[in-house]
């Protein structure tokens, strides 16, 4: 599995968190802990293994006051060989 640092998209400087190996509730908790370290307005990309997980996390993040920008399926060609579901979120607090 790729480490976070290798996944970071140097072009747009948006941090990418790869949580494809995590299960509930750690998919949400690790996303939330990352956002707690960030400043309001900063953006984060998180990759999950499946759509249900990505949408569940999105719902929880929204209820905590973060702004979910999109949830979409990604394939290897788009992001350094990663297949999965990506959630883009803007830190809201």
């Amino acid at each position: 599995m790729l480490r976070h640092a290798e996944l970071n998209d140097s072009n747009d400087r948006i941090e990418v968190l790869d949580l494809r190996d995590e299960n509930c509730p750690f998919t949400f908790i690790k996303t939330k802990l990352k956002l707690e370290e960030m400043k309001k307005g900063e953006e984060l990309k998180v990759i999950f293994s499946d759509e249900v997980t990505a949408r569940d996390v999105a719902k929880s993040l929204t209820s905590e006051g973060h702004e979910v920008l999109e949830v979409l399926e990604i394939h290897g060609a788009q992001l350094k060989g990663i297949d999965g579901w990506m959630l883009r979120v803007r830190c809201g607090r």
Partner: protein, 266 residues
């Protein structure tokens, strides 16, 4: 965020509370950096200590000079298997087994006028789990003087009360200027005590201490009074007494004679 980073094990251990917006990573770090002291490892203390430890309060002081007796075990469940051991030591053993994140400081003694201020000084919150009026007044007065928040509770039979005292709020003496005269109130031995009552109120004390550390709303200027037989819970507003000798700042030192019989301060 802060200088503590949660380990993978801590993320797992505290997962159920990290999820909540009221706690989260920042709240967990606050808890891990906080220090609480529980005075009395009896019925109330037994319950309070277990949940403070579970939540990951970074340091817990435990004060008790008594040793575990078989008559305690009906309510003091933290002491399972430790008959004859000092209660503070016994409770510390439980905490270390439950959660190695917690540092425990044992004070195998009872509080008195001479030691109490030194014992409580380094802590962020004091939890009063004692079972007698002189100790309650002593802790209240010491906490007001040291400006340390105090969570008071007392139970008898199926009845209990709890209030939290912070600097500038009403203190225990504002509500009860003095203890009832000796003989007018039944002691625990005479009146009995439901184990569940100490459990419920002890856990509520831990709840107050945890919320206080997290900066959430507490029972400030309020007393919760509950009768567990009828399940009636009353939240009573209490007011600071401008003439209270302690929280008005008039009395600045603990005097031996203020903690005998009615504990009145003249």
């Amino acid at each position: 965020m802060s200088d503590i980073i949660l380990t993978q094990e801590q993320i797992k251990r505290y997962a159920r509370q990290l999820i909540m917006p009221e706690i989260g990573g920042k709240g967990q770090v606050k808890l891990l950096k906080s220090k609480a002291i529980v005075v009395g490892a009896g019925g109330l203390g037994s319950a309070a200590i277990q949940y403070l430890a579970g939540a990951g309060v970074g340091k817990i002081g435990i004060v008790d000079g008594d040793s575990v007796d078989i008559t305690n075990l009906q309510r003091q469940t933290i002491h399972a298997g430790n008959l004859g051991m000092n209660k503070a030591e016994s409770a510390a053993k439980f905490v270390k087994t439950l959660n190695p994140d917690v540092e425990v400081e044992v004070y195998p003694e009872n509080v008195n006028v001479n030691n109490v201020r030194d014992i409580i000084r380094e802590y962020d919150v004091v939890v009063d789990c004692t079972d007698n009026f002189p100790s309650r007044f002593l802790l209240n007065d010491a906490c007001v003087m040291e400006k340390i928040p105090l969570v008071h509770s007392a139970v008898l039979r199926f009845i209990g009360e709890i209030m939290t005292i912070v600097p500038d709020s009403a203190c225990y003496r504002c509500v009860f200027p003095e203890a009832p005269p000796p003989g007018s109130v039944p002691s625990c031995q005479e009146a009995g005590i439901a184990g569940v009552a100490t459990g419920i109120f002890g856990v509520m004390q831990a709840t107050e201490a945890i919320k206080l550390i997290l900066g959430l709303e507490i029972l400030e200027n309020k007393m919760l009074y509950a009768d567990l037989l009828t399940m009636e819970f009353d939240l009573i507003d209490i007011r600071k007494d401008r003439n209270c000798p302690v929280c008005s700042g008039k009395v600045k030192d603990l005097q031996e004679e203020s903690y005998v019989e009615t504990c009145r301060i003249e």
